[in-house]
C-alpha cells in the first residue's frame, strides 16, 4: 500500500477510535461515578450503610470486571442491538465499551472516595450537612485528583478495548489493523497503526497527568 492509499484509512480509523473512546468514556463516568460513591456510602460504617445494596452492587461490579472484554462484547450483542438498533459500527460499540468500563471505573472511584479523611466528613456533619451535601462538597472535591487520574486510566483501557472491538464489527484503528495489517499481511500498515495507538495513549496520559497536577497543587504547601 502506498501512503496515499493508507492515509484515508488511518485518519478514518483514528477518528472512529476517538469517537468510540470519548463517548464511551463519557457514559462510563456518568454511570461509574454514582456507582463508586454508592459502594462507599452503603458500605459497613458508611453514611448510608445498607448491606444488601452494597453486596448486590458489589457483586454486579465484580462480575462485570471478571468477564473478559471480548466475551462481554459478543454476549452484549442483543442488548446493543436493542439500544442502538445495530451491533456494528462505532456508535454500536459505545454500548459494550461503556458496559465493560463502568465496573472498572466504579472501583477506581470507590478507592478514591474511600481515601477522603473521615474527619472532614465529621466536620461537615457537625455543621449540619446532609449526605448529599457531604458528597457534593467534601467527598467529590477532595477525591477529584484521584478521580481524574482514574478517568485517565479508564480512557486508556477503553482505547485498548476499542481496538479489540474492531475484531467484532467495530470500526477504528483496531479494525483497520485487523483488516489491512493482519489479513493482508501488510506489516508496514500494522506498524503505523500501532505507533498511532501509542501516540494517542501517550497524549491522553500526559493530559491526565497535567490535570491531576493542576488539581493537586491547590492542596500542597508552596510557601
Amino acid at each position: 500500500m502506498t501512503w496515499s492509499e493508507m492515509q484515508p484509512l488511518l485518519s478514518q480509523g483514528t477518528v472512529d477510535t476517538l469517537y468510540m473512546v470519548l463517548w464511551s468514556a463519557l457514559v462510563t463516568v456518568i454511570g461509574g461515578l454514582p456507582l463508586g460513591i454508592l459502594l462507599v456510602l452503603t458500605d459497613k460504617g458508611g453514611l448510608l450503610q445498607n448491606v444488601v445494596v452494597n453486596k448486590v452492587v458489589g457483586a454486579i461490579v465484580n462480575i462485570g470486571r471478571s468477564l473478559p472484554f471480548i466475551i462481554l462484547l459478543i454476549a452484549l450483542i442483543p442488548f446493543t442491538t436493542w439500544v442502538v438498533g445495530t451491533f456494528i459500527g462505532p456508535s454500536a460499540m459505545i454500548v459494550p465499551l461503556a458496559v465493560g468500563a463502568i465496573p472498572f471505573f466504579a472501583r477506581l472511584v470507590e478507592t478514591a472516595v474511600r481515601e477522603v479523611d473521615h474527619g472532614l466528613v465529621e466536620a461537615v456533619q457537625s455543621m449540619g450537612g446532609s449526605v448529599p451535601t457531604i458528597v457534593r462538597k467534601v467527598l467529590l472535591p477532595q477525591a477529584l485528583p484521584s478521580i481524574v487520574s482514574g478517568v485517565t486510566t479508564t480512557v486508556i483501557v477503553l482505547i485498548g478495548y476499542s481496538a479489540m472491538a474492531g475484531a467484532v464489527g467495530g470500526e477504528g484503528l483496531g479494525s483497520k489493523a485487523v483488516t489491512y495489517g493482519f489479513q493482508r499481511f501488510d506489516n508496514q500498515f500494522m506498524l503505523i497503526t500501532v505507533v498511532l495507538l501509542v501516540v494517542i495513549v501517550t497524549v491522553v496520559q500526559l493530559i491526565g497527568d497535567l490535570a491531576v497536577r493542576l488539581l493537586a497543587r491547590r492542596g500542597r504547601a508552596t510557601s
Binding site: L47, Q49, V124, S126, M127
Partner: protein
C-alpha cells in the same frame, strides 16, 4: 446550656462490649468555658461527640440550649432535618483541624454558610469578618496546606463560628500544637467566649488548658465523671484530685514531730504576706516544702505546702489563723490513713500524658 443526663455509650467491638460512657451527667452553664479532662480512653471523645450526636448515645439524653437533641435524632443512622438544624447552631473545632484542602481558607469558612443557604455576597462578607476576628484576614486566598498548625486551627475556629453558634465544642483543639501556639489559640477561645458570650465545652488531656481558660472542669475516668465543679470551687475543696493535679506540690506528710499543711491562696489573699505574719505572730519557724503559683481564669491562685514544728495538736492555733485570713489550709496526713495523699499520686499520669 448543655446538659447531659445518664449518658451511656456502649460500643460493640468484635462481639465484645466496650463501655465508653457510663452514665455521664454533665451540666455546662451559659457563657462559661467548661473543660473535661482525662486520659486517653477515658471517654472524653465519645462524650463530646455525643453532645452534637455525631455519635448516638446508647441511652441518656442531651439537651443543648433547651432543645432535647436525643429526641430530635430519631432512630435511623441518618441525621434528620431537625438534628441537622440543631447541629448548625453548635460549632465544633477538631484536633486535626479537618479543613478541606480543596478549598481556600475563605472557602472553608464559607462552607457552613453554604449549608445554611446564605447567598454568595453575604457569605463572603461574613467569612472575611470571621477571618479578621481570628487574625487571618490576609490569608483568605491561601490554601490550608500553606498554613501553620496554629493558623489552621484559627481557620477551624472561624469556620466553627460561621453559623453564629451559641455553643462551641472543642475536641482536643490544641493537642496537635506546640505550647506557644496552644497558648495563643486558647487566648483566642477565651476572647471569643467573652466577646460573643459563647458557651465552650472543651475536652483535653492537658492540665494547662484547664488552668488557662476554664471556668469549670470535670475529671473523667473510665467513662465516668469523677469530679466536677468550678475551678475555684475545686481548688477550695479539700482532697480534690483536680486541684492537686492543677497544682502539684511535693513534700513529706505529717510525722510525729511536724505538721504538714497545704495552703491554698485564692484571689486577693495571694498578694498578702500571710506566711511571714504567721511566723511573727506565733514565733514559729516555717519551712516551705513546695509551692506553685499561677493564674487560673484570670485570678491569681497559689498552693503551698508548709511544715510547722510539732504535732498537729500543737498547731491548731496557727492553722486557725491561716483559715481566718481566708485561706484554705488542710493538713497532709501520712498516706497510710488515707485520702489527702491519694491525689498526689494520681496527679502524675494526668500531667504527664502525651498527645495521642
Amino acid at each position: 446550656m448543655i446538659t447531659t443526663s445518664g449518658l451511656t455509650k456502649v460500643y460493640q467491638s468484635r462481639g465484645r462490649e466496650v463501655t465508653a460512657l457510663d452514665g455521664v451527667d454533665l451540666h455546662v452553664r451559659e457563657g462559661e468555658v467548661y473543660g473535661v479532662i482525662g486520659q486517653s480512653g477515658a471517654g472524653k471523645s465519645s462524650l463530646i461527640r455525643c453532645v452534637n450526636l455525631l455519635e448516638r448515645p446508647t441511652s441518656g439524653t442531651v439537651t443543648v440550649a433547651g432543645q432535647d437533641l436525643t429526641a430530635l435524632a430519631g432512630r435511623g443512622r441518618r441525621a434528620g432535618k431537625g438534628l441537622r438544624e440543631a447541629r448548625s447552631r453548635i460549632g465544633m473545632v477538631f484536633q486535626h483541624f479537618n479543613l478541606l484542602s480543596s478549598r481556600t481558607v475563605r472557602g472553608n469558612v464559607e462552607l457552613p454558610l453554604e449549608i445554611l443557604g446564605i447567598s454568595g455576597q453575604a457569605r463572603s462578607r461574613k467569612a472575611l469578618e470571621l477571618l479578621d476576628l481570628v487574625g487571618l484576614a490576609d490569608k483568605a486566598k491561601s490554601y490550608p496546606g500553606q498554613l501553620s498548625g496554629g493558623q489552621k486551627q484559627r481557620v477551624g475556629i472561624a469556620r466553627a463560628l460561621a453559623g453564629d453558634p451559641k455553643v462551641l465544642l472543642s475536641d482536643e483543639a490544641t493537642s496537635a500544637l506546640d505550647p506557644e501556639t496552644t497558648r495563643s489559640v486558647l487566648q483566642l477561645l477565651r476572647d471569643i467566649n467573652q466577646q460573643l458570650g459563647l458557651t465552650v465545652l472543651l475536652i483535653t488531656h492537658e492540665m494547662d488548658v484547664v488552668k488557662t481558660v476554664c471556668d469549670s472542669a470535670a475529671l473523667m475516668r473510665q467513662g465516668r465523671i469523677v469530679e466536677s465543679g468550678t475551678v475555684d470551687g475545686l481548688l477550695a475543696t479539700p482532697g480534690s484530685e483536680l486541684a492537686h493535679a492543677l497544682f502539684p506540690v511535693g513534700g513529706a506528710a505529717t510525722g510525729p514531730d511536724r505538721t504538714v499543711v497545704d495552703v491554698t491562696f485564692l484571689g486577693e489573699a495571694a498578694a498578702r504576706p500571710v506566711i511571714s505574719q504567721l511566723s511573727r505572730t506565733y514565733n514559729i519557724d516555717i519551712s516551705i516544702l513546695g509551692a506553685a503559683m499561677d493564674t487560673v481564669g484570670g485570678r491569681q491562685i497559689g498552693r503551698m505546702r508548709i511544715e510547722l514544728p510539732g504535732r498537729y495538736e500543737d498547731n491548731v492555733v496557727p492553722i486557725g489563723f491561716l483559715r481566718e485570713q481566708g485561706l484554705q489550709a488542710e493538713t497532709v496526713d501520712a498516706p497510710s490513713d488515707g485520702s489527702p495523699d491519694v491525689p498526689a499520686r494520681t496527679a502524675d499520669p494526668l500531667t504527664k500524658e502525651v498527645a495521642k
